[in-house]
Symmetry: C2
Subunit: 411 residues, 2 copies
Amino acid sequence: MTTRQTCLDLDAADPLAGVRERFSLPDGIIYLDGNSLGALTRSALVRVNEATAQQWGRELISSWNTHGWIGLPQQAGRKIARLIGAEVDEVIAADSVSVNLFKLAAAAVRAQGPERTAVIIERGDFPTDLYILQGLAAAIPEIELRVVEAGGFQAALDDRTALVLLSHVHYRSGAVRDMAAQSALVRKAGALSLWDLSHSAGVLDVRLNRDGADLAAGCGYKYLNGGPGAPAYLFVTKRHQDILRNPLSGWMGHARPFDFEDDYEPAAGIDRWLCGTPPILSLTTLDAALDAFDDVNMPDVRAKAGALGDLFIEWVETRCAPHGLTLVGPREAAARGGQVSFAHPDGWAIMQNLIARGVVGDFRRPDVIRFGLAPLYVRHVDVWDAVEILGDILDSESWREERFQAVSAVT
Amino acid sequence: MTTRQTCLDLDAADPLAGVRERFSLPDGIIYLDGNSLGALTRSALVRVNEATAQQWGRELISSWNTHGWIGLPQQAGRKIARLIGAEVDEVIAADSVSVNLFKLAAAAVRAQGPERTAVIIERGDFPTDLYILQGLAAAIPEIELRVVEAGGFQAALDDRTALVLLSHVHYRSGAVRDMAAQSALVRKAGALSLWDLSHSAGVLDVRLNRDGADLAAGCGYKYLNGGPGAPAYLFVTKRHQDILRNPLSGWMGHARPFDFEDDYEPAAGIDRWLCGTPPILSLTTLDAALDAFDDVNMPDVRAKAGALGDLFIEWVETRCAPHGLTLVGPREAAARGGQVSFAHPDGWAIMQNLIARGVVGDFRRPDVIRFGLAPLYVRHVDVWDAVEILGDILDSESWREERFQAVSAVT
């Protein structure tokens, strides 16, 4: 049987134990919301101060060249590429997930020609993925949007399908899709797969090229720890790079942006997916944060995420057994991303009480409490202690009364 | 006749003299490139450190609410609104100029219906404005893009015109368009006007509503001093806010973004123009930088911009008379934005020499040297001294030989 000492022993043997020192974590908090906003790295803090005070403040415009601001989207993209099984010149940091999904989906449909204009997405996926495709279909009436039930994309594939947008890990349940099998299904139907990696990159051992993904986009501020609203990234596999055209053809994606020509000519390779001038301070923190992955093997990260999740589930179902928490999403580590979710009718109040006691997760309506277990800085003992606190709260008689007070402290 | 002492006297009497203290400027540099990258404010430096170390680092996810991250796009928008003659709920900070132009142009064409699908822009405008419309027209084949000669938009207006994209101040020459007259021409033709304010906001007394503008977008990192690649902003006048739909319908523009619904419903008012999660650190510096405009009257800013430009032209044409510099763009202050440009066959080498001597402007091919005179921190005496240094360089016999050495120092 697992004990707190078992957890301490597991942490001592953890190949990622030293990585936690790369983060600047607050005292007295067990932070289990890295799937929503990743923690601050020490390198990001140093570099954003340097970029602001010295590079911008003292050296001003020249820093675009002397400090490599102009190359940051590619530089961050190369670092992300290693984490997601892509070539270094297949990934670039740019804009937001929403904007990147729009770019890629619009480009894919256009490249597929007039006989293939249907785009498929499953209901219940992350809302912005649905919203962006709805906006795209409204802007380009030729596009037929098929919003199908969860699990139903395969049945909707046909010879008019241009693109399928799939979440690698579901934002609510944490369930992982089989990227290789589902990419193959999409490809067999003659369509392109577009993967949203927001909840998988940085926590799973993502292998885009091995698994046959065509396109992908993902978030910079969750498991990549890029900071609040950090730039996102996108992936276009080599074989599509010459064909696809970015509809958001801003100057930074031009073949010669500083020639100030009147006619757009897309840059070669991945660079064409840039649009406007990137937000350098936010991009700098993303680039710095990615250094926390230096020397980190993604299989180790994936294994630890699985172990932390297994421990969380086991201990909740033991320690909190009488309290009616129901696991949401997969029980098996292999089918689960970096988070564990439970449903409870009073989920919202429970989360407020947890936050008031220093355990930070989040709540998703109507009744889901969600815990992100970021393997780079969450320890086994943190999981143990968090569940102990959860158990204490549920065992107490007062937590339902405390809810309103607790809420006002965190809203 | 103007002397250096005249300049010192003008600075002493300048109502904006104290505003310079709000900036953190490097010693030994005369910075005349605020039209490309505005200078660092003291408040931005403080606030980005606070947002990184304390808000993100210590308080993590809760800062979205407790530190108002979620409201920053609107908060920055309200501050910008005062500078451009808009209502506080007509402006929002979001994305880049390029992305915002795409959103607004796509929305405008769609709202105009199938009988009006032509979009007009003039050749020689800022490249990304041209490129974005080219990308839009390629993505939505119904759109007819008319790229007309400079000065030719009026002749291209007809009953199929949906939208005209106009730069308020030309990025190269600094020439100002008559916003009231040209908005009226566009409106009379039944089209909508979309103004690019990148080179006018923060230096001219822009009056969007008084002058009948329909739509606008502009840059956060030039005269607004928001930092490298700071988020841009956009303006939609009240009468169009209910009609226009953002094609980039990301979750932050939803009526209830945190209800995680499957169907997009645009937020009321200006909020629908958000798309993905904004880059909070870059947005924080923009928001902080805008406080440099507190208590600043835009007519004073505009008057000083005119006076600095007049002084620059007068003193170049006096001090550097034999050296073949030709004024590019308007001579009259009323027709000029916040910059002055001169053409010279050796413009590139001249600018490299200036930079090596601590006078920072920029060069635009093929032969234009461009100087931005940001009224919040550039003094009359800075203009005087910059032209003195320019004269010294041109008078010397060695500057053509020095060019290669100088270049390597700044590339």
